[in-house]
């Protein structure tokens, strides 16, 4: 008899690990299928976590009970809070990871879950009965039965690596692609497409004299924050030694070399058809598409405390290896640098995420969940966020629970999922803070206040995290009270509550605390910046927050107004054929989502609204 799992997860990258961890935590028996346990939570590109909006995603994953925040806090080697010159709504943590340590930490965390079993092998065929997933067959090996299957295949589906004219089938450098699995998935009728991403060359640390070039100004030294602000609400102070990164700029020689060899770039000679991300352009793109920009920033980032490899951030390319070496040597201070491995572009198949529900389950096959790059996204954080949602819902599906959905007005994860399932992908999708309608309310400092109760309801927040959260929430409430009641002397000489002073832009809470004038303000040493930000933002920007909250309330009626699952869009008079087609493709679950579908006009949604109210499904349709 076949071995049975509640949930099988294909792939142990950032999406797969979160999915397996979440499902196991919820009580599901999980099989985690991977080619090798050496590449668990691997970082095949940038050895870093976070960044603008991505840092928000990590805080939210953590608040719900996921792994990524704790993993990076345990293995980060340079922490920065980006956008610190701006307001707390757009602060975003970012950290360089020790890539090897990061993978090992996540592997140990999964090993510690009794409910997770490793399935080492190559996923081959999805077993479907009727319109329901029933199991997975490994290539040339056993079949396993399951109630729910989470696919997180990254760039492996028909992966094709390009280095100049050389092409070879591979999921990542040195790993075989998944062909059988790709065919198995496509045979189920999903709409799919092809995307492209890329990575820069790696250099040998020993071949670069960092100290000399930092001293003579060839490299600008980039230091992290001291002390680091942790990602996780559970982390204590981070006292690991921090490393430096270095900044250099491209020059005319780099530009001329790219131009002279552009016909050898698969990106520009027609060899690559997949669409790459505009926000993370290859070096070829930078030079060709932005000829007016004289120089581009390149960051040199160690891949670990003792790692030999230096990641050349901003220098991703698919040019032939000899040109890559010449380009590296053209950069100031890298004249003698040794190329350990070249950069490359990789093309891979993805499934249009309009095939998915808000739980990341496919509409065609019940019990089949997709997360990560297979849904057209890029980035470890975007992948992890989807893995978390898919893992929780896969467990809920297997265990017969109600399901877990996040919405746009409460989280970046909700925005991510809603954008994917509503708009589909034309290029690799990356999170930005500008994608949020109510950005001022979706901050890193209040991610726990927004989402930890939701994670608790879903079953992922354990007692330890919950107790900590309850203490933090009451600390937050007390702090607001303290600031409202602590009298301080204003410049006019009057004594006014601290909160009133804080409404003036130039008065900062951190200064008041340093002056010792609000002695009853409480904060955790490891997250003082967060405690301060939560209280200060709530007071200083109360007017803005109130306005955004009011907007949410106003739009919530339409936004969350349900469209029944079986609603017959084609029977609504007055909708054009194109609109009906789009509605049927996406099958929006709310009027708010319908309004965001490209090509669906407000007028069409107004017509739709009047019919949704009247619709009662025929018993046969349910």
């Amino acid at each position: 008899m076949k071995q049975h799992f509640d949930v099988i997860v294909i792939g142990a990258g950032h999406a797969g690990c979160e999915a397996a961890h979440a499902a196991a935590r919820l009580g599901a028996h999980v099989g985690l299928c991977t080619l090798s346990t050496d590449t668990v939570a691997h970082m095949p590109c940038n050895p870093a976590v976070g960044g603008t909006a991505k840092g928000h995603l990590v805080r939210e994953i953590d608040a719900i009970g996921g792994l990524m925040g704790r993993a990076i806090d345990a293995t980060g080697i340079q922490f920065k809070l980006l956008n610190r010159s701006r307001g707390p709504a757009v602060w975003s943590p970012r950290a360089q990871a020790d890539k090897k340590m990061y993978g090992r930490w996540v592997k140990h965390a999964l090993d510690a879950e009794a409910n997770v079993e490793w399935l080492i092998g190559k996923a081959g065929r999805i077993l479907v009965s009727g319109e329901r997933v029933v199991g997975l067959a490994l290539e040339g090996a056993d079949e396993y039965a399951c109630e729910a299957l989470v696919m997180t295949t990254g760039t492996f589906l028909n992966g094709l690596i390009h280095i100049g004219p050389d092409q070879h089938a591979a999921g990542r450098a040195g790993e075989p692609p998944s062909r059988e699995l790709a065919e198995s998935l496509k045979s189920l009728g999903f709409e799919w497409g092809r995307l492209k991403t890329g990575t820069p060359p790696r250099l040998d640390r020993e071949s670069i004299d960092f100290d000399r070039h930092a001293d003579d100004g060839t490299f600008a030294v980039e230091r992290g924050d001291m002390p680091p602000v942790p990602f996780s609400f559970l982390s204590g102070a981070i006292d690991r030694p921090q490393i430096d990164c270095y900044l250099v700029h491209t020059n005319d020689r780099v530009r001329d070399l790219v131009r002279a060899n552009i016909d050898r770039s698969p990106l520009f000679n027609g060899q690559i058809r997949g669409i790459g991300p505009r926000y993370c352009p290859s070096l070829e793109d930078k030079i060709v598409r932005f000829p007016d920009k004289e120089r581009h920033q390149i960051f040199l980032e160690p891949e670990g405390v003792d790692a030999r490899e230096i990641y050349v951030n901003g220098f991703s390319m698919s040019l032939p290896r000899d040109v890559q070496a010449d380009l590296v040597h053209a950069l100031p201070g890298l004249e003698d640098a040794v190329l350990l491995r070249p950069g490359y572009a990789v093309e891979y198949d993805f499934i249009q995420p309009t095939e998915l529900t808000r739980r990341l389950e496919t509409k065609r096959v019940r019990g089949l969940f997709l997360a990560g790059q297979i849904n057209g996204t890029s980035g470890y954080e975007e992948a992890a966020a989807q893995g978390l949602v898919a893992g929780i819902n896969a467990a809920h599906r297997a265990l017969g629970r109600e399901g877990f959905e996040l919405h746009r007005d409460e989280s970046y994860i909700g925005i991510l999922v809603d954008d994917l399932i509503t708009k589909g992908c034309l290029e690799p999708y990356r999170m930005f803070t500008s994608r949020a309608e109510h950005r001022l309310l979706l901050r890193i400092d209040n991610a726990d206040l927004r989402l930890t109760p939701r994670g608790r309801d879903a079953g992922l927040v354990d007692n330890e995290r919950w107790d900590r959260f309850c203490r933090r929430r009451s600390r937050f409430d007390r702090n607001l009270c303290v600031l409202e009641t602590t009298p301080l002397r204003a410049s006019s000489g009057d004594r006014v509550p601290a909160a009133q002073l804080l409404r003036q832009p130039e008065i900062r809470l951190v200064d008041l605390i340093a002056q010792g004038v609000v002695p009853h303000f409480e904060s955790e040493p490891s997250s003082a910046a967060i405690d301060i930000a939560s209280a200060e933002t709530t007071i200083k920007y109360a007017g803005y927050l109130r306005r955004q909250q009011a907007e949410i309330e106003r739009s919530r009626k339409d936004e969350r107004r349900r469209i029944p699952p079986a609603f017959p869009f084609e029977r609504v008079p007055g909708l054009s054929r194109e609109v009906v087609q789009r509605l049927n493709q996406v099958r929006p679950d709310t009027l708010g989502q319908a309004l965001r579908i490209p090509g669906v006009t407000p007028a069409a949604v107004a017509v739709l609204a009047s019919y949704v109210g009247r619709f009662t499904p025929h018993p046969n349709m349910l």
């Binding site: 603008t52 307001g87 930005f432 500008s434 001022l440 008079p573 006009t601 407000p602």
Partner: protein
């Protein structure tokens, strides 16, 4: 609300008798239904008038009831964007109703109020502003109102709003880039330039709003109350301005008891004139109520004409004009001298009224005329002003952006690119059948 892919029919001309009456059909079967109504054989040539006869029962032996001209406008080149057929018959309500009923018998549905225009909007033929303009154009009483509505239908306001929105969008995009790409090492908008850019936008919304009061007066018209002591000739003046003997005129003081109103075109402005009871202390109950109504009318009017002959005027209303009537009699001159009897000075009075209202009916292009538009432009303006303030106080971009985004939302709501169902129903409920 409405269903919009069946075929609708309605009488498009006003109720009552006329030389010609038009029945309009719109929808996929408009052409087929028409062919089953008329004796003409073969299909109708697009946009060509066809003279034929119409029979209104399915009975093959039925006699035609009228000679008509039918014109077919195939989609998408029609008013609604769907197939449209117009049937011009003789303007008898009996015939027109019979045609409509016959069309319904053959599968058409009676149009809801505003439905033809709704279809034009849904099919993308016109935007929300233009749809509203259709209603205004139909309701227009004065030529100036018609012109204002026609300008809006032509898209003048659409263009003005779109221009502001485009500039706003560009600014928002650059600020968003600053927030989302902090590592790029430069500002996408220089901090000093930001305040100026927003000020420029706020200046443009302010200019729209400055024209709004005049636009609104042109669209909605205004009220002028005529008050004064008994027997100073208010009703005579009222009749003279109205150009008709609407109010009873006698030499008995206190003849006018109740309010008498008449809508007149005053140099293009739609003006409702209100004649009132003479103001005096009285114990007579009917007259006393009349005096009370006169005071209330004066209180709400846009302008009060205080008519005097020789007595002191009692000043009522904040905005008023003293009019000395009975200028045909030799009296000392106070205020504007007119004679309701001879008509002398009436042109001077009209000019004085226009001047007092501060609404030169000049021939430039009026833009904002609609309360909904004004409210939304005001919202955009308030948001822009707040954003400019935040920029000047060097608040972080995301706060400036919060208000700039709100301004964009308001502007997009004007053109209907964002709109709620309630809003659309409210707007389309204003149309009368068949327009």
């Amino acid at each position: 609300m409405f269903s919009t892919n069946d075929t609708i029919v309605a009488i498009a001309t006003p109720p009552g008798r006329g030389g010609i009456g038009v029945v309009r059909l719109s929808g996929p079967d408009a052409h087929a239904i028409t062919l089953r109504l008329v004796t003409h054989n073969g299909s109708l040539r697009p946009r060509r008038a066809t003279l034929t006869r119409i029979a209104c029962t399915t009975d093959a032996a039925a006699e035609p009831i009228d000679q008509v001209v039918v014109t077919s406008f195939p989609r998408p080149h029609s008013y609604t964007g769907d197939d449209v057929v117009e049937v011009s018959a003789h303007g008898s309500p009996v015939i027109l109703r019979a045609i409509v009923e016959a069309a319904i018998d053959r599968g058409a549905r009676l149009a809801e109020p505003g439905e033809f225009t709704l279809r034009a909007f849904l099919n993308g033929r016109i935007d929300l502003m233009q749809a509203e303009a259709v209603a205004d154009l139909i309701d227009a009483v004065t030529p100036l109102q018609a012109r204002a509505a026609f300008d809006q239908l032509e898209g003048t306001l659409t263009a003005a709003i779109a221009g502001i929105d485009a500039a706003l969008f560009d600014l928002v995009a650059r600020l968003e880039a600053s927030v989302d790409f902090p590592d790029e090492g430069y500002h996408f908008v220089e901090p000093g330039a930001l305040g100026r850019a927003i000020d420029d936008l706020a200046g443009r919304t302010a200019a729209l709003l400055a024209g709004a009061r005049r636009g609104q007066l042109i669209r909605d018209g205004l009220q002028i109350a005529i008050v004064g002591r008994p027997n100073v000739g208010k009703s005579s003046l009222f009749n003279a301005l109205a150009g008709a003997a609407r109010a009873i005129v006698t030499d008995v003081p206190g003849t006018t008891r109740d309010l008498v109103t008449e809508v007149v075109d005053l140099d293009g402005l739609r003006v409702t004139l209100v004649d009132t009871a003479g103001l005096r202390e009285t114990s007579e109950r009917v007259e006393s109520e009349g005096v009370e109504r006169a005071r209330r009318a004066a209180a709400v009017a846009d302008l009060v004409l205080i008519v005097v002959d020789e007595d002191e005027a009692e000043l009522v209303g904040t905005k008023h004009l003293v009019v000395q009537n009975k200028a045909d009699l030799e009296r000392p001159s106070r205020g504007v001298r007119v004679s309701a009897v001879t008509g002398a000075g009436l042109d001077d009075l009209r000019r004085a009224i226009i001047a007092a209202l501060d609404v030169e009916p000049v021939r430039d292009r009026p833009a904002l005329t609609n309360v909904r538009h004004i409210a939304l432009v005001e919202r955009a303006h308030v948001s822009l002003t707040r954003a400019a303030g935040a920029a000047r106080r060097s608040m972080p971009e995301e706060f400036v952006l919060a208000d700039l985004q709100d301004a964009r939302a308001a502007l997009e709501e004007i053109s209907g690119r964002r709109a709620s169902e309630a809003l659309l129903e409210h707007i389309f409920a204003r149309f009368c059948i068949g327009k």
